[in-house]
Amino acid sequence: MISNPEVYFFYFFATIIVGSALFLLFTKNVVYSAFALLSTLLGVAGLFVLASADFLGIMQIVIYIGGVLLLFMFAIMFANKVTGQQYIITEHKNLLSGIVLGIAVFIIFAMAILKAGYKQHLSYYPNKSTVSEIGVELMTEYVFPFEFAGIFLFAALIGASVVAGHLIIKDNVKK
């Protein structure tokens, strides 16, 4: 009999991940698949918290669900034609080879994981936060990657807005 309550939470979040990933694979509606991606990332955030990485769980929710999903929704609305049934539909091709490859990859990974024989259990610290530890590490050992990530994000976002903003300005001029 399982005595720890966090095991139940783990299976709850794992069920969310597996179910919504399967829905994301099989649905043809692109908007539905964006929302399935949302619940998959929410489940991943739950797993982060259960692995006592609370800061990463919150970051996952803020960045992915608050930022990236919104970006995906905007791109879906901008870059798709509405078909006859008022849905944005994606085609499914290469169904056989894709599923065979995916199952093969999963079996290979699962065999490797089971053969490696990790006997340890994850330790769960309910009263310990990783925020201060991450902050100290960011300012001492990881200060160069931190600054580099800042410049990288700056360049990427400027580039993205230049590439996409060009489109909007040109459209306005044409009108």
Binding site: V7, F10, A21, V30, L47, L101, H121, A164
Partner: protein, 100 residues
């Protein structure tokens, strides 16, 4: 006390789903969703091993992976808008010409 193998199996499943979505879906945005799933599967593995080794390094790496994933999504979707403007489609099989 969750067994680490369960976490790793879930991550492997998520990675396999990402590959399947990337191959099966023909809409460019849906293919980008598959890439996001694969990056998240890798993040789960990094967090699990960071917990097992009682070191924070894995979590630091996850932060930088998330930074790269966000930049990739932003630039990819911006490029996709331009591609859509030229081809009037976001179907990956119909985008075949280099010069639009």
């Amino acid at each position: 006390m969750i067994p680490s193998t369960h976490f790793l199996i879930v991550a492997a499943f998520l990675f396999a789903m990402g590959i399947m979505i990337l191959i099966v879906k023909r809409n460019a945005i849906a293919a980008l969703m598959g890439i996001e799933l694969m990056l998240n599967a890798v993040n789960i593995n990094l967090v699990v091993f960071s917990n097992l080794n009682r070191q924070i390094d894995g979590q630091m790496f996850v932060i930088f992976v998330i930074v790269v994933a966000v930049a990739e999504a932003a630039v990819g979707l911006a490029l996709l808008l331009q591609v859509y403007k030229n081809y009037r489609t976001s179907d990956l099989d119909k985008i075949t010409k280099l010069k639009g």
